[in-house]
Structures are given as structure tokens and as C-alpha cells.
């Protein structure tokens, strides 16, 4: 499942929603990305995350299909926020549901790598007196 939203999400609720109907799942690896207080030697107060809404679902669907071909995934969940986010707020959740541990780890790592490269989001960091668009540093 792919969700692109402005609102925060609850990790427990989101994972349980999928997991509760998948009793064969023994392993869930998840990654959560947050807004950090410091980046490129500057104090960050908040970020604005721009998204190309029409493209992002296509792109993330491609990535999850590839991940499912490569690793034995039973399901996967991606939630990515956009808009205005303050320090400590969640940006992204990727959760990979598998029978076994290593499959879920590998799939989650794989999806995050591709998401960082191809998902059409752009971060603008807001400092005390100005703001700046980021280049992806991976």
C-alpha cells in the first residue's frame, strides 16, 4: 500500500492494519525517516517537502513491484508525507512484511535506496533567516 499525505501517521496502527490479516508474516523491517535539526552545517528549523503527486504513485508502485520480484515479500507499505514539517517529525515509513527476517531487511533497504533515487520529492530546508533547496546526498 502506498500513501502520500500531509498528515502524520501512527507506526503501530499502520503496521498492525496490514499485519493483523497476515498470520504467515514472521518479520517486519521498517525504516522511518525524520526531519533532523542539523544538516550541511546548518541548524534546520523545518522543511517544506514538494511532491509531484501524479508521478509519485507510479514511481513507488514500480519500486515495490521490483522489490517483490527480487525478495520474498508478502506485502509492503510506504507512507511519505509532504508539505511543511518541523524537526523531529516523521517524513517517511517503509515497512516490509515477510516470512523471514533477511528477506524483510533486504527488501526494506532496497526500497529505500530506490525511493531516495527516484521518488519525486524535493526538500527545502528552512533556517533562521533563509531557506535552501537540497540536492540529494543519498
Amino acid at each position: 500500500m502506498i500513501k502520500i499525505q500531509k498528515e502524520d501517521f501512527n507506526i503501530e496502527v499502520e503496521i498492525e492494519l496490514i499485519k493483523s490479516s497476515l498470520p504467515s508474516v514472521g518479520a517486519v523491517t521498517s525504516f522511518i525517516g525524520y526531519v533532523r535539526d542539523f544538516n550541511n552545517n546548518k541548524n534546520v528549523n523545518s522543511i517544506n517537502l514538494e511532491v509531484y503527486e501524479k508521478m509519485v504513485h507510479k514511481e513507488l508502485t514500480k519500486i515495490t513491484v521490483k522489490a517483490k520480484q527480487k525478495w520474498e515479500l508478502i506485502d509492503c507499505l510506504i507512507i511519505h508525507r509532504h508539505g511543511y514539517l518541523e524537526v523531529n517529525e516523521k517524513i517517511v515509513l517503509v515497512a516490509c512484511f515477510a516470512k523471514h527476517r533477511q528477506e524483510s531487511f533486504n527488501a526494506c533497504n532496497y526500497i529505500m535506496n530506490y525511493l531516495k533515487k527516484y521518488a519525486p520529492f524535493w526538500k527545502k530546508e528552512n533556517y533562521t533567516n533563509n531557506s535552501e533547496w537540497l540536492e540529494n546526498t543519498n
Binding site: 511532491v51 501524479k54 508521478m55 507510479k58 517524513i91 533515487k117 527516484y118 519525486p120 540536492e135 540529494n136
Partner: protein
């Protein structure tokens, strides 16, 4: 055709999207030449090949024909996640 701009490219174009006349623009390369002229500040980025192009929400890796109803997006490397 509809051209969409994202992130700091909008600062150069002063708009987030615009319709261009598709009669003279037959390929992505035609479009690049057109934009270089229209937005001189964009030229160095297009020349350095740092920007990404997508036609109808699909990444583009080489020059390609473009059509009247296409949606073409131009953006810097992504930085989500």
C-alpha cells in the same frame, strides 16, 4: 503541451507550469533549446545534464519525440525519504 517545473527550477521560470506551442517542439532536445533561450539561467543546468525529465510521469534517459498532449516535467535530482 504542458511543461511542469519543480523545486528551485520554479524560481528560474517564475511559474510552476506552462503550456508551450507543440508545433515547433518535436523532441526533448528541441524543448531544451527553447528553454535555454527563454530562461538563460536554466541553460547551465541543462547543459550540465543535472536535471531530470519525465514525459507523462515516466523518467527519460535519452532524447524522445514529444506530442501535443504530453505532460513534461523538469526537475532537479530528487531529495525525499
Amino acid at each position: 503541451m504542458l511543461i511542469k517545473y519543480f523545486a528551485w527550477i520554479k524560481n528560474i521560470t517564475s511559474c510552476d507550469q506552462e503550456n508551450l506551442d507543440s508545433k515547433k517542439l518535436k523532441t526533448i532536445d528541441d524543448l531544451k533549446i527553447h528553454l535555454n533561450t527563454k530562461y538563460p539561467d536554466l541553460k547551465k543546468h541543462i547543459d550540465k545534464d543535472t536535471l531530470r525529465f519525465a514525459i507523462n510521469q515516466e523518467y527519460l534517459s535519452e532524447n524522445k519525440k514529444i506530442y501535443k498532449n504530453d505532460e513534461i516535467a523538469i526537475f532537479p535530482p530528487v531529495s525525499g525519504g
